[in-house]
């Protein structure tokens, strides 16, 4: 048990024990996803969008529950959410390019969209937090030590409060792909981490948004911990030329739906 063995340093835990080649990871992903989709099609599997038990993501092996979650009715405080307001976050915090004396390097971009609940109602006055790597794929976090440059003009963290209609918008730099040690030659597709509060605590969401057409999608165990392609597509922002500012920034659109429940759902009619 824990007391008998010496725990490793946090830095040493970032590499997987077996450090397999990409081909092994690909085969594992394909097997799990095809099994999931077959079970889903035959109706035997309970609806789950992100698999907790997903060994291709090696550090999940000891970090996922092995028992089924208890299905409960949310009660009391779970039906509420911490309160935020327009004055809790200053406007400049939504612009990740303005946090230092100089301009960060990389492709300037905006990402914006609406946060809705399962009924399509906007989620107003709620906190949205983001964090990301810089244009070279390097995080400012001290435990990211891979040899890509830090940018003295880019931290990569921001936050905002949704407006009365559930809109959010960030201005930032397009993040680079990020190498990690899940397996040999492992690279994460470019992504921005999002943390979002809903109208109820059960709707709380932490996720990642990706960019269209990334060649690393098929190789990434984290993106593929979502077994259904239709669900994975929900994490890919749309390039929207109307949101692109001339000679200034590329525009991306990403809407977010917070349901807080596993169960019954329908495809929106205009989803095809």
């Amino acid at each position: 048990m824990a007391e008998a063995q010496q725990a490793r340093k946090p830095e040493e835990m970032l590499a997987s024990d077996d450090f397999p080649p990409q081909s092994t990871i690909n085969a594992e992903i394909a097997e799990i996803q095809s099994k999931f989709m077959a079970e889903k099609d035959s109706g035997v599997r309970e609806e789950l969008q992100t698999l907790y038990d997903f060994a291709p993501y090696r550090s999940s092996i000891l970090r996922h529950p092995t028992k089924n979650p208890r299905l409960v009715d949310p009660e009391g405080i779970e039906l509420w959410s911490p309160a935020y307001g327009q004055r809790d976050v200053s406007e400049i915090e939504a612009d990740l390019t303005l946090q230092h004396a100089g301009e960060p390097l990389g492709q300037r971009m905006t990402i914006q969209g609406r946060i809705l609940d399962g009924w399509g109602r906007p989620v107003p006055n709620q906190l949205v937090e983001v964090w990301q790597a810089n244009a070279a794929g390097r995080y400012i976090h001290q435990r990211d030590q891979h040899p890509a440059p830090l940018d003295p003009n880019f931290t990569g963290a921001g936050r905002t409060i949704t407006d009365a209609n559930g809109w959010y918008k960030f201005t930032t730099i397009k993040p680079g792909a990020y190498p990690w040690r899940n397996h040999q030659n492992a690279w994460r597709p470019a992504h921005i981490h999002f943390s979002i509060f809903g109208s109820k605590f059960t709707q709380r969401l932490v996720t990642q948004v990706y960019f269209p057409g990334d060649p690393l999608f098929a190789l990434d165990p984290i993106y593929n911990s979502i077994p259904d392609q239709k669900d994975r597509d929900r994490l890919v922002a749309t390039y929207d030329h109307d949101l692109t500012a001339p000679e200034f920034s590329l525009g991306f659109r990403w809407d977010i739906v917070l349901t807080g429940k596993h169960a019954t759902w329908f495809e929106p009619e205009d989803d095809h």
């Binding site: 996922h64 405080i77 935020y84």
Partner: protein
């Protein structure tokens, strides 16, 4: 990607949610803030210290987890005060956030919630995130003192004694609360889906 611009009436079609992803290894610079664990000032009147260790399937402490708690007011009323990001030392918002340290420990200074409904035992709503955990996990931390309320609580009564034990904090001699979160294994915490 669907862009929904119309409001759907209740009872109509329910939208598919956006899936969650792991919080990853480097969330601290994005999510941690100095006042996060200090829902109230330490040792202020009515303040309670609650702490614990997040452990993996081998019992090892997890140094890159994030724990959030959300509690009602001491009288059980839901909290609607703003100010969780910038604490003013007076308003009690009920929301706290604590990233585990290198020993896997999280902690909060907060106030103990009251029961929000008659016949239910009082608890903190809890969210757990970690590198290696593909999506969020919901659980609850119940206060240990009112054994009658714990026995009478319909949800707790539906669990085995071992399962129940994973949801009830321990009261220490100095009045503080301890509660470990086990992500896997024999002592695995009971996690919730709604």
């Amino acid at each position: 990607m669907t862009v929904i611009t119309k409001e759907l009436p209740e009872g109509d079609k329910y939208l598919r949610g956006t899936p969650g992803q792991t919080i990853g290894p480097f969330f601290k610079f994005g999510l941690e803030y100095a006042d996060g664990p200090y829902v109230v000032p330490p040792y202020s009147p009515g303040a309670v210290h609650i702490s614990g260790i997040v452990r993996d399937g081998k019992g090892f402490a997890i140094p890159d987890a994030l724990v959030e708690i959300w509690g009602a007011l001491p009288d059980g009323t839901p909290n609607s005060e703003r100010g969780s990001l910038h604490r003013d030392g007076h308003r009690f918002t009920g929301f706290g956030r604590s990233a585990t340290d290198d020993e896997g420990r999280f902690f909060f200074w907060t106030r103990e919630p009251g029961a929000t409904e008659a016949g239910k035992a009082p608890f903190f709503a809890v969210l757990l995130f970690a590198r290696g955990l593909p999506n969020k996990l919901h659980t609850r931390i119940y206060l240990p003192d009112d054994e009658e309320a714990l026995r009478a609580d319909p949800f707790l009564a539906s669990l085995t004694a071992e399962e129940r034990a994973t949801l009830i904090a321990r009261r220490n001699e100095d009045g503080s609360l301890s509660h470990d979160l086990w992500m896997q294994g024999e002592k695995e915490t009971v996690f919730l889906a709604y």
